[in-house]
Amino acid sequence: MSTQTISQSSTWGGGNSPFKVSYGKLMMWVFLLSDAFTFSSLLTAYGAIRYSFSSTDTFIEEVTPVKLEADGIPMRDGRIDFTFADNLINKYTPESASHAAHGAEGHADHTDYFVQKMGETGIFSESHWPSPDLVFNHFPGFGVIDFHGMHLPLIFVSLMTLILILSSVTMVLAVEAGQRGDKAAVSKWMLWTIIGGFMFLSCQAWEWTQFIGAGSRMYSNPYGPPTFAALFFGVTGFHGFHVFSGVVLNIIVYVNNLMGTYEKRGHYEMVEKVGLYWHFVDLVWVFVFTFFYLI
C-alpha cells in the first residue's frame, strides 16, 4: 500500500486540509449546522402555528374599542392606552391583598389583576394569539424601586439581548487573546463571558417565574391558546439549556487555561471552538427574540 505517494499539490487529493481548518473546528461547524436545523424546526412550528390564529389587534377591531372602553379598558386610537396604567394594572393595594388573603374581593398581585381583567374582556382568549407586549411587560424591582404595576413591554427581554451580545463580545475577545497566546487575557475575558452567561440564565429564570406564577403551564395558560405557553417553554427552554451547556463548556475552558493546558499544547484553538458554540447560542437568541417577542 503506497499511501505516501499522494500528491501534495492537489487540494482535494488528501494529505492536507482543503479548507485550512483543523478537524475539531470543522466538526464544530458541522454540529452547529445540525443544531441550527433543530432550532429552525422549533421556530418554523412557532411561526406557522402562531399565524394560524388571529391576533389581539384583530380581536380589538372586531369587538370595537368602544365596547372594551365600556368594560373598563382605557383605549386610544384603537389600541389599549397604558398612559393611565394605574386604572388597569395598579388596582393592587396592600389592603386589597389582605382582603384577597381572607377570601374577600381584591387581588393578591398586580399581575393577577391585569391578567384577570384581560381575560374577562376577552383580550386574552384561546381563540386568538396574545400580543407579546401584553404578556412580557414586567421588569424586576427587587423591592428597591417598585416596577410592579408598570407597563414595560420588551424592556426586560431587550436587556437580556444586550447581556448576551456583550458576553459574545467578551468571548470573541478571549479568542483574540488566544490567537496572540496571551494566557492572562484569555482568563480575564473567559471569566467575563461566564459571568454574562450566568446573568442571562438568571434573567431567564426570572422570566419563567413570572410566566409560571401567572398560571402558565405546558397544557394551558391565561394568555391565549395552550400552544402559546407550550411553544414558549419549548423554544426558550431549549435555548436556555444550550446557554447552560455553553456556560459549562466555558468553565471547562477557563479552568484548562488556568492549568496551562493550551500553553503546553502550543495553541488556543479550544477557546475558538467553544467560542463558536457560544456565538451560535447568541445567534439563536437573535432569532428567538425576533420571532417570539417582536413578530
Binding site: Y23, W29, S131, R265
Partner: protein, 118 residues
C-alpha cells in the same frame, strides 16, 4: 498514534499532515472590528424595539424584523465566528443550507396565515 503533549509533533506540519493534531497558523485581526460590530448589533436591536412601538403589526413589519435579524446574523457569523476570514468553500458549506432554512421559516409563517381562513 499521536499525543498532544508530544513536543516532537509539529502541529503546523503541512508535509507530514496529521489530522489529529494539525492546526493552521493563527493571527489576531485586532479588537477594533469586534467593538464596531458590538455597537452595530446594539443599534440594530434598538431599531427593532423602535419599529415594534412605532409601526402597527403587519406582515410588512414582520419582513422588517426578519431582515434586521438576518443583518445581525451576518455580523455575528462573519465577525464573531470569523466566517469572513475562512475559505469560500467552507463558508458556503455552512451558509447555503442556512439560507434555505431562513426561507423555510418565513415561508411557513406566511403559510400558517392561511390555515385559520380555510
Amino acid at each position: 498514534m499521536s499525543s498532544h503533549s508530544n513536543h516532537n509533533v509539529d502541529i503546523h506540519d503541512e508535509v507530514n499532515y496529521d489530522p489529529t493534531v494539525w492546526v493552521p497558523h493563527t493571527h489576531s485581526h485586532g479588537t477594533k472590528d469586534i467593538w464596531l460590530k458590538f455597537w452595530i448589533l446594539l443599534g440594530l436591536t434598538v431599531i427593532d424595539v423602535a419599529f415594534y412601538f412605532i409601526m402597527p403589526p403587519s406582515m410588512a413589519r414582520n419582513i422588517i424584523f426578519i431582515a434586521l435579524g438576518i443583518v445581525k446574523a451576518i455580523y455575528i457569523v462573519g465577525t464573531f465566528m470569523h466566517m469572513k476570514h475562512e475559505k469560500l468553500g467552507f463558508a458556503s458549506m455552512i451558509i447555503i443550507p442556512m439560507m434555505f432554512i431562513i426561507f423555510f421559516i418565513a415561508w411557513m409563517l406566511f403559510e400558517g396565515n392561511f390555515w385559520g381562513t380555510i
